[in-house]
């Protein structure tokens, strides 16, 4: 869920923007040290891929549709740092070209979606034993973290009171997070059958 402009107050906008910008700069610096030239076009194409799947809702019946953020998937394939850069770029483009999320709320959205998805979900997934179920759990737990962040941001901005915000966001994010984890698992199953060499880290 992308927060549009207008819903966050100046303080939350500036603080979340500051955090995200700092993390982005640090990540870029770190990635630049080890970046191989062939990874540059790959990052571009994966950004396009992430951008696309965030727009591409797939109907699953009974009037509901699903779409992924792709953060967990990408992090498993190319690592969380490169994943984070790809996710951030796609969030910028979504805001600019599709009005999914605002420009000033970009900091908050990067925090809730890219940072939690890439570092949070991937980190939890790495810590958990087992692989298939771990994806669903990691997705769900990362969803809870996103929910807390989103609730805090909105309640600090005076949009919702904290307890209501927490409950609502928890409900939405943990379910969508778990679905994300589950579909990520299905995608990895497909990749394992068709192009396992992409998953040298996964096994």
């Amino acid at each position: 869920m992308h927060i549009p402009d207008g819903f966050l107050n100046p303080q939350v906008t500036l603080v979340s923007g500051g955090i995200s910008a700092t993390v982005l700069v640090l990540t870029l610096r770190k990635v630049n040290q080890t970046l191989k030239p062939e990874q540059i076009p790959l990052m571009g194409l994966l950004a396009s891929f992430v951008f696309m799947i965030q727009l591409f809702s797939f109907p699953v019946g009974v009037g509901t549709s699903v779409h992924l953020s792709g953060a967990l998937l990408i992090s498993i394939l190319v690592g969380p740092r490169i994943g984070f850069i790809i996710m951030t770029v796609s969030l910028v483009a979504l805001a600019l070209l599709f009005q999914h999320g605002g420009i000033f709320s970009l900091g908050a959205n990067t925090l809730n979606i890219a940072m939690v998805g890439c570092f949070g979900a991937f980190g939890i997934y790495k810590l958990l034993p087992g692989k298939r179920l771990a994806l669903v759990l990691a997705g769900g737990l990362a969803g809870v973290i996103s929910a807390i962040l989103c609730a805090v941001e909105l309640s600090l901005s005076g949009m919702l009171d904290l307890s209501t915000a927490l409950m609502t966001m928890m409900l939405i994010y943990s379910v969508t997070g778990a679905i994300e984890g589950f579909i990520t698992m299905l995608i990895l199953d497909f990749l394992l059958k068709v192009k396992p060499e992409l998953l040298s880290h996964y096994s």
């Binding site: 059958k193 068709v194 192009k195």
Partner: protein, 246 residues
């Protein structure tokens, strides 16, 4: 077998470009028709329209049934479309899953589905490929898997979009042999004019979204002025002045 009739068929992209303009066609049941025209002439749009995949104005009747949002699901049960790019049709992890995809909607049970799939693979000479992943097959083999998906459906109407594209001469010959064995109404959109001459008794020349002429390939393709006017060339096998040097 399916007869295709279209009345006043028009289609424009959202950008306002007219891809089809008042197309009137009557292709008899069991006929083999080639759609010929330069790039952008509207060939693919026409195929997509016949398959009910784009919203057009005008009427399409397939074997007497009007194509409509209500009837399209049923009509598609007797219809196949072989896409230009095989990778657009093959999205399951294994070849057999791709070939059998959607067969359950024809009311077959699991046993029958598997039999149909294996039979279709045998027809395209890909026995033993069941559990391979289409992704790792050669281009020619992937094209064959796509054909097998149609054969497994036993469609009475098959639409082909550029079926010989990118095949080497051997793969192309293979396709022609299979095509000749197929029954049902067959429509193919192609730039491969030699293919048209060899396989189709009828052709539709289309340009700018409009039907220019319908007739026998040999009679139409030999007309140099007509061909050049529509950015085409007289195929070598009909030409008296081959452009060969050295």
């Amino acid at each position: 077998m399916s007869r295709i009739q279209t009345r006043n068929l028009s289609y424009s992209y959202s950008a306002g470009i007219q891809a089809l303009q008042e197309v009137e066609l009557d292709l008899s049941s069991g006929s083999r028709t080639a759609l010929v025209g330069p790039n952008g002439a509207g060939k693919t749009s026409l195929l997509l329209a016949l398959a009910g995949l784009i919203r057009v104005s005008g009427e399409i009747q397939i074997n007497g049934t009007l194509l409509s949002p209500d009837s399209v699901d049923d009509l598609r049960k007797t219809m196949s479309l072989v896409f230009q790019n095989p990778d657009d049709m093959l999205f399951m992890p294994t070849v057999i899953e791709d070939v059998c995809f959607g067969l359950e909607t024809l009311g077959l049970n699991e046993q029958q589905i598997l039999e149909r799939g294996q039979e279709a693979l045998a027809q395209v000479e890909l026995e033993g490929y069941e559990n391979r992943s289409a992704h790792h097959l050669s281009y020619g083999e992937r094209r064959k898997v796509c054909l097998a998906t149609c054969l497994a459906r036993r469609s009475s109407l098959v639409l082909f979009d550029e079926p010989s594209r990118e095949l080497d001469p051997h793969g192309r010959r293979n396709f022609i042999d299979l095509f000749q064995q197929m029954t049902g109404t067959l429509v193919l959109a192609t730039h491969d004019l030699e293919l048209v001459l060899e396989t189709c008794a009828q052709m539709v020349l289309i340009d700018g979204g409009q039907v220019v002429i319908v007739g026998k390939p040999k009679a139409i393709l030999v007309d140099q002025k007509l061909m050049e006017h529509h950015r085409l060339e007289v195929p070598h096998s009909l030409s008296r002045h081959p452009h060969v040097h050295c």
